[in-house]
């Protein structure tokens, strides 16, 4: 039936639906219904109507990955489904492919986007926010969404084209190592931001600036407390209460 690739409009339809991947996220099978929802326009073209429900059912199996990298997996899945329909399922079946890629790709996406790019973009945008510039949200959105859309949209179409070879592409990208670079960058940005804010507060209070260096051990202690399960929220609430008490006594 289909010997060539899916028409561009069908692929686009699947890609747009992949943006709603987590619309019905649940604790039972997480993104599974979202996967079926995104793939259906493609599956409808690949399989004849009488075969479709049975093939669709396979995609209701448990699935959970990073929402951005999942688009690549879905693209490759469409490619593999076409191969399967042609009777040429390779050494790795469609369902097996999804099963073995979802968790490692979730780990890559979490590290790169949630742990790397997002704090880094926020770190830069925060400088604009401290300056009270309304460019801050724009800077944040641009810095985050450029890599986001590149990997989500580009990854989806690459997946459609190259199927299983997608795996090699991600082996070469080294996202976890890139993530570490962004994390290191974030820490440097935050250090500068904290240094600047400390300077502002200390001169305002007519205290010697070099006292600010004493704030650093405080950060160490706070970091240790976060590690021991005392949340940042609780720390802010209790320290603010202390400050209010201090102000009350000082008055």
């Amino acid at each position: 039936m289909t010997t060539s690739a899916l028409p561009f409009t069908t692929r686009l339809h699947c890609l747009l639906r992949a943006f709603l991947l987590q619309g019905s996220w649940n604790f039972e099978r997480m993104q599974s219904l979202g996967v079926l929802y995104a793939l259906l326009p493609g599956l409808r073209r690949i399989y004849p109507a009488e075969q479709l429900p049975a093939e669709a059912k396979r995609h209701l199996d448990y699935f959970n990955s990073h929402p951005f990298l999942a688009a690549s997996i879905l693209g490759a899945t469409l490619n593999l489904e076409q191969e399967r329909q042609r009777g040429g399922e390779g050494y790795l079946g469609v369902d097996e492919f999804k099963r073995i890629t979802m968790a490692p790709y979730a780990a890559m996406g979490d590290a790169f986007f949630w742990g790397g790019i997002r704090p880094f973009a926020a770190g830069i945008a925060l400088f604009f926010a401290v300056k009270e510039s309304l460019w801050a949200p724009m800077v944040f959105l641009t810095l985050f969404n450029l890599p986001h859309l590149l990997l989500r949209v580009g990854g989806f179409f690459r997946g459609c084209e190259c199927g299983l070879e997608l795996i090699d592409l991600y082996q070469r990208l080294h996202l976890p190592d890139l993530a570490i670079r962004f994390k290191e960058g974030t820490v440097i940005l935050l250090g500068g931001l904290c240094g600047y804010q400390s300077y502002l507060v200390l001169t305002h209070q007519e205290t010697v600036v070099s006292w600010g260096l004493l704030l650093f051990p405080l950060v160490l202690i706070m970091g240790g407390l976060v590690r021991r399960g005392i949340s940042p929220l609780l720390q802010v609430l209790s320290l603010s209460t202390l400050l209010i008490l201090g102000a009350l006594i000082y008055r």
């Binding site: 997002r118 926020a122 926010a129 959105l141 290191e184 070099s210 706070m222 976060v226 609430l237």
Partner: protein, 231 residues
């Protein structure tokens, strides 16, 4: 509080709340975007920017990994911005940052309630999955698609519920708390803001899997401070 600002907030809360998990995730739901956005609708984006920046800092290290649901910083940001802009004229002008910080300290713990509503939505989605499975048995694929889209309603409801709770609780509590603590908090506002910076950074440095994180942070902190001192 005027009804129009309240409803404008609710509309932003719904749209941005969907971006948080269910739809696209362009990061409109991050406090640093959501708060100035709602501020723009209510005529004071700078208040939103300030609130958004402080919340962004504090929860920078919270990750939505796997099945873990973080506190709803989105609705805290939106609710707090609406509260500050709406309450400022009622409480005798918004001089200083006292009101803003007090609103944040009241609204932030309520983000935990957002976790509860979010989980509720996700449990509701499990029923949709069952219904989709039944529809698939009947070979009714259109219903399968409808079930998935229905999930968006659950997430939207959770977002608006959290927003309502934060705004209503804030509206009840703040007129009582502000006369007591607003002035005091205004006096130490610089320090309280600094705490957000330090705790937020400490959280991300402490949870990073980067062995050099401490050194990098210390060096960058000291050089910024000393450079300004030299200037």
């Amino acid at each position: 509080m005027t009804a129009s600002s309240f409803f404008a907030g609710a509309v932003v809360s719904l749209l941005v709340g969907l971006d948080r998990t269910a739809c696209a995730q362009f990061m409109l739901a991050r406090p640093i975007v959501a708060a100035p956005l709602v501020g723009l609708f209510l005529g004071d984006p700078l208040v939103g920017l300030k609130i958004g920046a402080l919340l962004e800092l504090l929860w920078l290290g919270k990750l939505p990994v796997g099945a873990a649901v973080p506190p709803d910083d989105t609705q805290v940001a939106i609710g707090a911005t609406v509260l500050v802009i709406a309450l400022a004229p009622m409480l005798g002008g918004a001089e200083g940052s006292g009101l803003l910080l007090l609103v944040l300290l009241v609204a932030m713990p309520l983000g935990k309630v957002g976790q509860y509503f979010d989980r509720l939505a996700r449990h509701g989605n499990a029923r949709l999955l069952l219904r989709a499975e039944e529809a698939l048995e009947r070979e009714d694929l259109v219903t399968v698609e409808r079930c998935h889209r229905r999930g968006l309603l659950h997430f939207a409801a959770a977002a608006v519920a959290t927003y309502l709770l934060i705004v209503l609780a804030g509206k009840g509590l703040l007129p009582l708390l502000y006369p007591l603590y607003g002035g005091l908090l205004g006096d130490v506002s610089g320090w309280v803001q600094l705490i957000f910076f330090l705790v937020g950074s400490a959280a991300i440095v402490g949870t990073l899997n980067v062995s050099r994180a401490m050194t990098l942070f210390a060096a960058s902190f000291a050089s910024a401070l000393l450079l300004f001192w030299l200037r």
